[in-house]
């Protein structure tokens, strides 16, 4: 009864309701102007996760946003004046970049990168190449020998083959302008690259910065995709006038969604442009469905206002159901605690809810004011030749579900097998990154080419282990021999993992080499100092001989009660990160915890960029599982409520699992993992095609309730709603297809995934479910209320009165 009144209500109060909706749209339109396209690093990681909190607490040990600029020679090695000068100049230019942490700019030319030298009666600390590059060959040869002799301590800055040198820099994340940074770094590359010297860049700021580099291309693709959608919409719907109505409502839904983004002050990552596009496509999809049904009702009722009201009543329940499924698909990702996902989830929810008001409230109002959509007269052509074959095929096709036989059995059993395969693939789904470089871009892209080139020579990912201890001179302070020894043991243990490229600690980088140098450079003193007093003396020697801020890379304060151990990793793959965490845990459990001499030492891990990636992986793993469970639960519950049937609820659950777990098959085949970037798209995809089945089954049920035989209702639904579903499918495919040509692998993979998802959803909704209905004839199709019959009765009553 309620649904009947909504359609009438909307039509009766169309002026005021329409005006309210337009005013709200105008407000959101104004808010749209506040949308800022930018990337906030903090937003990508779960703020409640231990690793993120640890990183924030110990932010004084540097930023996780590290830029790496590698100068590599084609011929010879870096020990020539030209290349060494370039290294120095790059270091200086990097030090001028916006947002750079000047204490964290390191290279062979940095005054912070030094070595200790023993001579009879003295110990001196010298920077390798500061303040000047050696000008003659003798000086360059001496520098080369010094670097080779001390290579173990600067292997993260000069490659083992001496052909490459790295300049690294950390940035203050807050307020970092990735776009400006990216283009300034590009200027550095252009400035110093020449015939013999190649310059490569890597690091998180560059990966994010490339989003701005492709901003124009992505925007062009966005507009192209919208254009293709409109074109297909015109091609499939222009036999009726006012075919463009879904574009209007889709546009207004987008205004609501974007306006909410502006109102809340969320930032908009350029790479994520694909998400609003999907949301808009969803809006248009519902609009097309609604418009298709309006045309059917116009043909049936012959009255514009009655058709608008009736269409609203018929379409609102399944529309509400499918939009709730869409919303449930995206809202749950906000529970992961990752701000960027929260923003996408909340904005997406408003966006989709905007579609509910725009398509199911505003579209009837719009159509009620516009002239009645008329069938444009076209010359009737005799169907023949190819068209006859197509027509015959379609006739055969729409009867597949109702025709008992081998094909239907194959479809039903095949879908069961596909579902099993999909579930197995889902259980085997990968989390996080599975290759070196960034999966956002293609493997042969410049960004990945550079990352791989740098990664071949230098570790790019850094994880931090933080030790908190009593203050010096306690034997368990960070300068205590027992603690230094434990740190060195940890270094040894971590090095046994081949993915660990370097472990940088005060113990290995300062304390032991200084102990050695303090004892004439005798190698057997390359060991932990024998007493806490000796350790304190060496610390003092280092403090006095090194540049300001250099000690703080290892020990943050003069009380010597905390230290940072940096684990440099060869990649940031899921297994690499998990293995290193497991390894640290085992070390703490078996080496630190049982040692009474370390009972005041606390080991916390893992901060740094590696820890942040790990935090995201932890959340994504749980999030994906809970998200799917939640969406399936919502679909089940809403279908149970809507169709008042457990069979219907389980039937839609089956269809949903069938379609969406198929996505995991695709993801596993393409080696796509769940990452912060992919999960919103995948989550949106979960609800993306559920409505196909819902619209189809609702139509079949309505027709059966109206007195039609089940098989006839199925055929009719396929010929009417099925066509609308197919049109929707075509429009969405058309809109998503151009993204395949995006320079971003992320867009490419996600668009293919979405096409795959919608294809499986369409097959499930238009073929498998009707097959099941025709074969099993579940009672819910025959029970309940017929909206159509009730509306006809109500119409008759109204006419009689």
């Amino acid at each position: 009864m309620t649904s009947l009144r909504i359609g009438d209500f909307v039509v009766r109060f169309r002026a005021i309701v329409g005006a309210i909706l337009l005013i709200v749209s105008a407000f959101f339109g104004y808010e749209c102007t506040k949308v800022v396209v930018q990337t906030k690093f903090d937003d990508f990681f779960p703020s409640y996760h231990h690793n993120v909190q640890l990183y924030q607490e110990w932010h004084k040990y540097g930023g996780a946003q590290t830029l790496a600029v590698m100068v590599q020679v084609k011929h010879g090695n870096i020990f020539n004046f030209d290349t060494l000068k370039k290294i120095q100049d790059v270091q200086r230019d990097v030090d001028r970049l916006p947002g750079v942490d000047h204490n964290e700019v390191l290279s062979l030319a940095s005054y912070r990168v030094s070595y200790a030298e023993a001579t009879p009666g003295s110990l001196t600390i010298k920077p390798f190449m500061f303040p000047e590059v050696p000008k003659d060959q003798a000086g360059i040869t001496a520098l080369k020998k010094t670097v080779q002799a001390n290579h173990a301590n600067i292997s993260q800055l000069v490659s083992a083959d001496l052909k490459s040198a790295l300049v690294t820099a950390s940035f203050n994340e807050r307020g970092l302008d990735y776009k400006q940074l990216f283009y300034q770094v590009q200027d550095i590359v252009k400035k110093y690259q020449d015939a013999n010297n190649e310059v490569y860049i890597a690091g998180e700021p560059i990966v994010r910065g490339y989003g701005y580099y492709y901003e124009r291309t992505v925007l062009t693709l966005f507009l192209l995709a919208v254009g293709v959608m409109i074109l297909i919409l015109w091609a499939t719907g222009s036999q009726r006038s006012r075919w463009w109505a879904p574009i209007v409502t889709g546009f207004l839904s987008a205004v609501w969604g974007l306006g909410f983004v502006g109102l809340m002050g969320y930032d908009f990552d350029p790479v994520m442009l694909v998400i609003p596009f999907i949301l808009t496509a969803r809006d248009m999809s519902h609009g097309i469905q609604w418009q298709g049904r309006l045309h059917d009702e116009l043909d049936r009722l012959g009255d514009k206002l009655a058709a608008c009201a009736a269409t609203t009543d018929f379409m609102l329940p399944p529309g509400l159901l499918s939009i709730l499924a869409d919303i449930s698909g995206i809202i749950f990702i906000s529970f992961g605690g990752i701000p960027v996902l929260q923003h996408i989830a909340l904005a997406g929810t408003v966006w989709l809810a905007g579609s509910l008001t725009m398509v199911f409230i505003f579209q009837p109002i719009l159509m009620s004011y516009l002239p009645t959509p008329e069938i444009k007269h076209r010359a009737q052509k005799e169907i023949g030749g190819t068209m006859r074959s197509v027509h015959d095929f379609l006739q055969w096709f729409v009867h597949i579900p109702t025709r008992p036989g081998a094909l239907r059995k194959v479809l039903l059993w095949g879908s069961c097998l596909f579902l099993v395969y999909g579930v197995i693939s889902g259980l085997d789904s990968k989390i996080g990154y599975s290759t070196a470089g960034t999966p956002l871009y293609k493997s042969d892209s410049k960004v990945n080419h550079d990352i791989l080139a740098v990664g071949k020579k230098f570790p790019l990912e850094e994880g931090w282990i933080i030790l908190t201890t009593p203050s010096y001179p306690d034997k368990q302070s960070v300068l205590g021999p027992g603690v230094l020894r434990m740190v060195d043991d940890m270094r040894d243990y971590l090095f046994r993992d081949p993915k660990v490229a370097q472990v940088v600690s005060f113990s290995s980088t300062v304390s032991e080499p200084f102990n050695e140098m303090f004892h004439y450079g005798f190698p057997k003193y390359l060991a932990v100092p024998e007493s806490v007093e000796m350790s304190g003396n060496l610390w003092f020697l280092y403090l006095n001989g090194s540049a300001p801020g250099e000690l703080e890379r290892f020990i943050s304060n003069r009380s010597n009660n905390d230290t940072c151990i940096r684990v440099l990793l060869r990649d940031h793959n899921y297994d690499t990160l998990n293995n290193i965490r497991d390894r640290i845990k085992r070390f703490v459990d078996e080496r630190v915890a049982p040692d009474p001499a370390l009972n005041k030492v606390h080991v916390e891990y893992l901060a740094g960029i590696a820890g942040l990636y790990l935090s995201a992986n932890d959340v994504l793993k749980q999030l994906d599982f809970y998200n799917i469970t939640f969406v399936l639960g919502v679909v089940w519950l809403f279908c149970l409520f809507s169709f008042r049937s457990f069979v219907a609820a389980f039937m839609f659950l089956f269809a949903c699992v069938l379609a969406n777990f198929g996505a995991f098959i695709y993801m596993n085949l393409r080696d796509i993992g769940l990452t912060i970037d992919t999960i919103p798209v995948i989550s949106l995809g979960i609800g993306l095609g559920v409505d196909y089945g819902i619209y189809m089954v609702a139509r079949i049920r309505d027709e059966v309730m109206g007195g039609m035989e089940v098989d006839d209702a199925i055929v009719l639904a396929l010929q009417s709603t099925g066509v609308a579903v197919f049109n929707t499918f075509l429009v969405m495919i058309g809109g998503i297809f151009p993204w395949i040509f995006s320079p971003l692998l992320f867009h490419n993979e996600m668009s293919t995934l979405l096409i795959f998802l919608m294809g499986t959803n369409m097959i499930a909704g238009c073929i498998i479910l009707p097959c099941y209905l025709s074969w099993a004839r579940p009672s819910f199709v025959f029970g309940g209320r017929s909206s159509m019959k009730e509306r006809d009765l109500a119409g008759a009553k109204a006419a009689a009165s």
């Binding site: 080779q148 043991d489 270094r491 040894d492 090095f495 190698p523 078996e590 049982p594 009474p596």
Partner: protein, 330 residues
Amino acid sequence: MVAAAAACLLMVAGGAITADSATQGITRTSAPGWLSLFGVAIRPDNTIFIVGSKALLLTSADQGKTWLQRTVNERPGGDLFQDRDLYSIRFDATGKAGWIVGEEGLIMHTVDGGDTWSRQDGGTRKNLFKLAVIDANTVVIVGADGLILRTSDGGKTWQTIKSPKLVTFFDVTFPDPKNGFMVGEFSTILASTDGGLTWNLSYGGNTGDFTIGPFFTVNFTDPQHGMVAGLAGDTAATSDGGKTWQKQSLPDPVASYVLAESPTSKNVWVGGAGGRMFDQAPGGQWKPSDRATFHDLTDLAFVGQLGVAVGLNGTILLTNNAGEQWQAVQ
């Protein structure tokens, strides 16, 4: 406190009870690059033994093609607790009895050619840098702060020998069972003529002058002819059993940490900082050798044509032609 006391008791008990080394290990083709190698010895059957940081013991029975990596169980606890640096390893003439010395007074002993090792108590926690095996029962160890240890019963008991100079000693050698020499800080050279029971100052030892560098290594080809080397290319030679020493210098002023004689070519080799090596034919001049590594070399051993040099950052250099060519084990 109770836990700490319990741990201390365990440590003491572990030292007394003797802990067998792990006989299992992992096979590899080179040494871990993050570990330091400090000592090398070659048994008469050409099996190579290398010791290093973190209780590392590497052995190769195929002249360096493959290596068995083991961790010497030098104290109670799991493998992660075995972290003392092992500084030197030597066998007796039969290759059956052998000792390893290391950090914090560590002495390990084998009677089965290095398959198993047990701990011996030298009564000190000072670093022990080098040892000389006179025979299966008699061993002299030198170390930090003037420490000299001697056993004449295969290590059952260790006697602390009084040093005439309280300086750290880095190397000791016995060209015959009676005559021994050791070197240390302040260019100190001590000599013994009674198998290490007593030691006398042979050279240097001016502990008031901090500009005098140490001698790190000593080698005697016979009781009369020997050589020492130290910081900044300083060397000294004797041809009268240590009565007089003639100062010399290497062609480059680099620190030298090890001297050894090739038994086949009779050339004396010196290795040191930055992987530099020089050799000297009898009566000849020092000649630089092609550099095979840039890491400091810490020990050097020859048996026949086979020679092995070890150093920091997992450096192993091999020669199969008495040093004509050295090749790094990668």
